[in-house]
Amino acid sequence: MPLYYNDDQAMLKDSVAPFVAEQAPVSHLRKLRDSADATGFSRDLWAQFTEMGLPGMLVPEAHGGLGMGHMEAGIVLEEIGRNLTPSPFLSTSVGAVAALAKAGGTQAGRWLPAIASGEAIIALAIDEGAKHRPDRIATTATRAGNGFRLDGKKSFVLHGHVADMSIVAAKTDGGITLFAVPKDAKGVTADPRRLVDSSLASHVTLDGVEVDADAVIGEVDAGGDILDALLAATRTGAAAEMVGVGQGAMDMTVTYLKERKQFGKLIGEFQGLQHRAAHLYGEMEVARATVMKAQQLLDEGNEGAKLMVSVAKAKAGRAANLAVREGVQMHGGIGMTDEYDIGLYMKRDRALAEFMGDVHYHIDQVARMNGY
């Protein structure tokens, strides 16, 4: 498959890009932020997403979705990134769907149709500390009665305080098991924190939470592969969103270079800035290609996907970080003001870069996957 959008994908982009730009531009984020919105996203906007079929893009058709791939989901995520749109799309429609579709069974039957119909918001309760270390999960699930008892603390759980269900990764006797923990489960407390980008992420405490045996997603002790699928999809999605954030920041900056005058010249005439802008362009193009390659390999079920996903998360992280840093610097003083949007791009990029493993984590993974 060539590494550019086919006709259907180009059409999808043509319909999603104006939709997100019109319904949820950066002013939409500002409105939520300035009203101290407690949900973390707009349910009205999510209803509009649902009208377009977006929440169920990756949900198999048998479960009421569109059965599309990561390349298509990436098209939506890039626009979400470009417009800094607060949305549960990445956690719910990409990460959770990847895990549930991989696992199948009762929980897939229960939640996939609800995701596709826009009714269910799902949170991913994976991390436990300040850094992403999915190989060191300490939350435990012990057999109790007909089911399990969950104990532990989770952090950086986006939408955790409003999610209808959280996918919780826990240690069981013989491995990792994933659980579908419903919103009203006794012993779950979600403490939402406002992050630098105005999103809400919860510290979730699981204190003797009792769940039935059928809350297991997939099989007991066999959650490793399902977690891998969840992580690969979410990381690739976050990378696609970062390409949108970086591109949005770069476009805004290049426009500014053509408008701002100093020393009687447009600042875009200065070679010192031209070369930095041109370098950034190259980095963003490479990041875009890399993310597309990871999406393509995931969609093909190719065994090389795991490496490329880490490469994509790292490369998109580096490129988007450069885009927002250069963006603020090249805007000069105005770039430091809250009134101007470029700073919001810097904030969102920082949060996305940290989500599901930062640049350093994924570069380390590249080394490990290559035997060093």
Binding site: K258, T290, M292
Partner: protein, 393 residues
């Protein structure tokens, strides 16, 4: 089976039957790369057999039309052929500036007669070409070139000199930018073709910091060039030159991908030693190598996307400048790490164990990557102007 799947199966079988075992070994020294031409001496029978097999099939230039020595493959088929060759680590049967640079320019600007006359010998590896572009006073500012062709009716008389002419001393013919109108800067250059055995042509190799001499100075002293040996239009050679530079930049950018090397950290972990956790036991070098490997894997995806778009007319015409910039900077970084990884052994200049200082010489050679074919700074200028549309660039 789809047509492409059938093509893949067919290609795989053909390669299996025709690519000699010696030609599936990595390129280790200069003679392993087959450049062809009148003066070419094959390193061994396998190199000759492999070239002949590919020539017969049109596989030295698979995407050129059959009438000009190619196989007439589509972009998808060409990609499959390359993947299948890579799968068995097959060497390129023939490398040449004729294939990479002059060929695409002739396909775009040449007359039907010229295509038949010049492309077939390129495809068969019979004529080796060199490129006469830079001059002592015209490097990055190429259009200021002074080599002059005086109009003598049925021929030009060319005087002047070129520099950085790659392998001029081994080439049979030259494609050369010659000023034919002193009053017009851009529209006063003609893209000429002539035989390096013409009276008045002399070459002098330039010794580089690598200790090797891949480049020459080339002098023209009253060289007669028949008036039918030009491409495009008289005085409009700059259009051809620019088009060709796009292909040259695309070619040079390929070095960034690093060929068959899977991972630089993986390669060094074997010789370098690992700690108890299985990590390369120099943590800072490990981190730099891992960051580099990440960039290389990313750049390979970029290369794939670029070629997919370039071959189907979807790429921005100036995007080869971006590829050249990113690829050459990456290749220089690779060789810095190869030197660090190799330590004091990599410093040896002529010992047998180091194959004559291959690492040190290779490292120094790569410093030219971001100078030849347009410097990194010129690439950034072009991106700023033609892609980002920045003012006054």
């Amino acid at each position: 089976m789809s047509d492409l799947a059938a093509f893949r199966a067919e290609t795989r079988a053909w390669l299996e039957a025709n690519c000699p075992a010696e030609m599936r070994e990595p390129v280790r020294e200069e003679g392993d790369v087959c450049w062809g031409g009148r003066k070419w001496v094959f390193k061994n029978d396998a190199q000759k057999t492999w070239l002949e097999a590919c020539v017969a099939k049109g596989y030295t230039v698979p995407d050129w039309p059959k009438a000009y020595g190619g196989a007439g493959l589509t972009p998808e088929q060409t990609k499959i052929l390359k993947q299948e060759m890579k799968r068995i680590h097959a060497r390129s049967p023939l490398d040449s500036f004729g294939i990479w640079m002059l060929g695409p320019a002739l396909l775009q600007f040449g007359t039907e007669e010229q295509k038949v006359q010049y492309l077939n010998p390129i495809a068969r590896g019979e004529i080796r070409w060199c490129q006469g572009y830079s001059e002592p006073g015209s490097g990055s500012d190429l259009v200021s070139l002074q080599t002059f062709g005086e109009d003598k009716g049925d021929h030009w008389v060319v005087n002047g000199s070129k520099i950085w002419t790659s392998y001029a001393d081994q080439a049979d013919w030259i494609f050369c930018l010659v000023r034919t109108d002193k009053a017009n800067k851009y529209q006063g250059i003609t893209f000429m073709l002539f035989d390096m055995e013409s009276p008045g042509v002399t070459t002098k190799p330039i010794l580089l910091i690598s200790g090797n001499s891949p480049f020459c100075e080339t002098f023209f002293d009253d060289v007669k060039v028949p008036k039918d040996q030009f491409v495009g239009e008289i005085n409009r050679g700059w259009d051809v030159a620019k088009y060709l530079l796009g292909h040259e930049r695309e070619m040079i950018s390929g070095g960034g991908a690093g060929g068959d090397m899977v991972s630089i950290g993986g390669a060094f972990a074997k010789s370098f030693g690992k700690n108890a956790a299985g990590e390369l036991d120099d943590p800072i070098l490990r981190a730099e190598m891992a960051a580099f490997d990440t960039d290389v894997f990313a750049y390979r995806a970029m290369g794939e996307r670029f070629m997919d778009m370039w071959k189907t007319g979807r790429a921005h015409p100036a995007s080869s400048n971006m590829m050249k910039y990113v690829g050459t900077e990456l290749n220089k970084r690779r060789h810095e790490l190869v030197m660090s990884g190799g330590g004091s052994e990599a410093l040896e200049w002529d010992s047998e164990e180091t194959k004559g200082g291959a690492r040190a010489r290779g490292w120094l050679r790569t410093k030219a990557n971001s100078i030849e074919g347009g410097t990194s700074e010129v690439m950034l200028n072009v991106i700023a102007k033609r892609i980002l549309d920045l003012p006054g660039a």
